[in-house]
Amino acid sequence: MGTEMDEKTTIAKRVARELRDGNLVNLGIGLPTLVANYLPVGVQVFLQSENGVVGMAPLGIPGAAAAALTDAGGSPTGIIPGAAAFDSVTSFCLIRGGHLDVTVLGGLQVDEQGQLANWMVPGKMVPGMGGAMDLVSGAKRVIVAMTHTAKGKPKILKRCNLPLTSVRRVDLVVTELAVIRPTDAGLVLEEVAEGVTVDQVIAATEATLIVPETVSTMKLAA
């Protein structure tokens, strides 16, 4: 199943295909950040960072830089021409107000109701939710980009046992093994990665998966 780097690249390349030209997109720190590097030709998106900018340059592309310009992790970042800076209040008006087309976030757990837990492990990790709850509750589309399992244990469960990030159902879950769409009826297995069987995905998943007659093979951005 390849190295961890391969897995992340697979996920990022698949998520990239979900973005549309002109979309306002917020990419979480870590894996989701890679998505911007695999956009199809002709698709330009505007990257938002919740600390107050639209028009961040994708990772590794310098853009215009300044001491007073960082990403949501506090790391230096660049901006593209046509970028805009604003305060935290405005930033979350964009996120909650129907202006943010897509948010891509990492996940600790997703369950059969399509609910996400990604901000806290009681007794272990108490980082605070930052902007995650606002993003998941407010964005027009929520895409969870995460590895299918953690240390061999399924992360797609019948019911999340970690504190939820939002009761809102996420729109898509992309892992290195599969693309899963949460629906009213449950989790639909839409695609499997090249070389991965439906049974392998089911074995790595605690939640019940709805398997349509044909499950296509995951297509990745070039």
Binding site: G55, G82, H99
Partner: protein, 217 residues
């Protein structure tokens, strides 16, 4: 991905019966050319959400005079006797809202806020029919979000992506309305190439704007 279009095409997107937020304060900072084109194209039965209706023959006042308006949500119509007359005659349904409440309700509409609690209007006619909420012993009116199908805003400068900046008191309701409508048409004094407006001077972020038109002079 330039959003620059002609005034005719921009206004053609608006159907009869649509709800429109229109920026401006007594005509200052109103999208003059878009308003004129609405009248030229003979649009009817519009709902207008705006601070005021200016004076007769000026900006939104022209829409009133043209009989294009079915319903008006505003804070003030005092300087336009024609609006008052049409209201009293029953030609236009008018809802009057305190100016700060109007601003906050539009902001809520564009910001994913389910409602704001304000004391403005408590115990007055403005409170009639409104839900009240008590917080720590104090009573507030629950003011609901306002949205519209379209916002017609006036900017000083726009770039081709739709980033907007405004000038002095011509700003007024324009930035907040540009957040609260399904489709946003921006009229600018000047359209500049992308990158010319410094990021710190962008007041409406490009992603909120659908069409940019240059004002005719």
């Amino acid at each position: 991905m330039s959003k620059v279009t002609t005034i005719e095409e921009a206004v053609a997107r608006i159907p009869d019966g649509a709800s429109l937020m229109i920026g401006g304060f007594m005509g200052v900072g109103s999208p003059h050319a878009l308003i004129d084109e609405l009248i030229r194209q003979g649009r009817r039965d519009l709902t207008i959400i705006a601070n005021d209706t200016a004076r007769p023959g000026v900006d939104i006042g022209k829409l009133i005079a043209a009989g294009a308006v079915k319903r008006l949500v505003a804070s003030h119509i005092g300087l336009n006797p024609e609006t008052q007359k049409r209201m009293i005659d029953g030609d236009i349904e008018v809802e009057l809202i305190p100016q700060g409440t109007l601003a906050e309700r539009i902001r809520a509409g564009g910001s994913g806020i389910g409602g704001v609690l304000l004391s403005t209007g408590v115990g007055t006619t403005v409170a009639e029919g409104k839900q009240t909420v008590e917080v720590d012993g104090e009573t507030f009116l629950l003011e609901k979000p306002l949205k519209a199908d379209f916002a017609l805003v006036n900017a000083w400068r726009a770039d081709e992506y739709g980033n907007l900046s405004y000038e002095l008191t011509a700003r007024n309701f324009n930035p907040v309305m540009a957040m609260a409508a399904g489709t946003v048409l921006a009229e600018a004094e000047e359209i500049v190439p992308v990158g010319v407006i410094p990021p710190d001077q962008v007041e409406t972020v490009s992603v909120c704007v659908d069409c940019v038109v240059a004002r005719r002079n």
